[in-house]
């Protein structure tokens, strides 16, 4: 019961704020709305019993990426400056296409989802098992993607510094 109420509140937050984030006139406000959406999704992960994913979502998205966004907005925008919303003639195709996509995918989901629906049992994820899965080299274990991500992070740090530094 409490789970359901929390779920519906979080879903309402996600729907309302994700639409407000893409239609807001001020960039700093839409970054704030995006932060609300990311935190609500972290709450979803908690409802789904994935505590580790909740921690990662909060730390990486709500912590790291939002700080990057806010720094970028403050560096490139004068305070209080409004980004004008584009005229209706330019937005109409975007609106039509997104509504058509929602209807199309919504129909598919509505007609097919009962086939895959299965009740979820309450269960605990063993952190030990999670660590073994992340760091193992057997089948269904993920050491190689983990190392690839670490190389990608290094490349991205070097690339970001190379791009953003001042050329003398």
């Amino acid at each position: 019961m409490a789970e359901h109420i929390i779920f519906y509140i979080l879903s309402a937050i996600i729907v309302v704020f994700s639409i407000m984030a893409v239609t807001s006139k001020r960039l700093i406000r839409s970054a704030t709305y995006l932060l609300f959406v990311l935190l609500a999704i972290a709450g979803w992960y908690l409802i789904l019993d994935y505590e580790y994913l909740f921690a990662v979502q909060t730390a990486v998205y709500a912590g790291g990426i939002m700080v990057l966004f806010i720094f970028a907005i403050l560096l490139t925008q004068k305070p209080g400056e409004k980004v004008p919303v584009e005229p209706m003639s330019q937005r109409i195709w975007a609106i039509v296409l997104s509504l058509a996509g929602v209807l199309f995918c919504g129909t598919i989901i509505y007609q097919n989802i009962t086939r895959v629906y299965k009740l979820s049992q309450h269960f605990e994820i063993d952190t030990h098992l999670l660590g073994k899965t992340l760091m193992g080299t057997d089948k269904f274990q993920y050491l190689l993607p983990f190392e690839a991500i670490s190389v990608l992070l290094l490349a991205c740090i070097v690339g970001a510094i190379m791009i953003a530094r001042k050329r003398s």
Binding site: H4, S18, V22, L68, S120, F123, L134, L152
Partner: protein
């Protein structure tokens, strides 16, 4: 009415509720990606799209194969990759702002015609 309410608040949360909400979020991101002109708004829309897909991976993993971790780790690695992507993209945005003094998508084609083209004739003239 009462039946609907009791159905809403009993049993497990249905799988399609998660999928429907992430669908709305995904297409809100698509709308922002196509309609907004500021590069930072485009990036925010991309974050929305990536998060919606993450939710799908995690929800399907949790409901259909709770004893496996494929969707879980795919979401985990997607979060890491999107962090990289955002860092590089914001570096590019700041560099564009330094060159053009705005981050409008429409003005990006000015980046491909820099001062070097004007300097080229001078460079060719200098040896003469």
């Amino acid at each position: 009415m009462g039946e609907i309410l009791t159905n809403l608040f009993s049993g497990a949360i249905p799988l399609d509720a998660y999928i429907a909400v992430s669908l709305v979020m995904f297409f809100a991101g698509i709308y922002g990606f196509m309609s907004r002109k500021s590069l930072l708004m485009v990036l925010i829309s991309i974050e929305l799209i990536l998060n919606a897909t993450d939710v799908n991976f995690v929800v399907f993993n949790r409901y259909l194969y709770p004893e496996h971790f494929e969707g879980f780790f795919f979401a985990l690695f997607t979060i890491a990759v999107s962090a990289c992507e955002t860092a590089v993209a914001i570096a590019i945005v700041i560099n564009i702002y330094r060159n053009l003094n705005n981050v409008n998508v429409d003005s990006l084609d000015k980046l491909s015609e820099p001062e070097e083209q004007e300097k080229l004739p001078e460079n060719q003239q200098t040896p003469n």
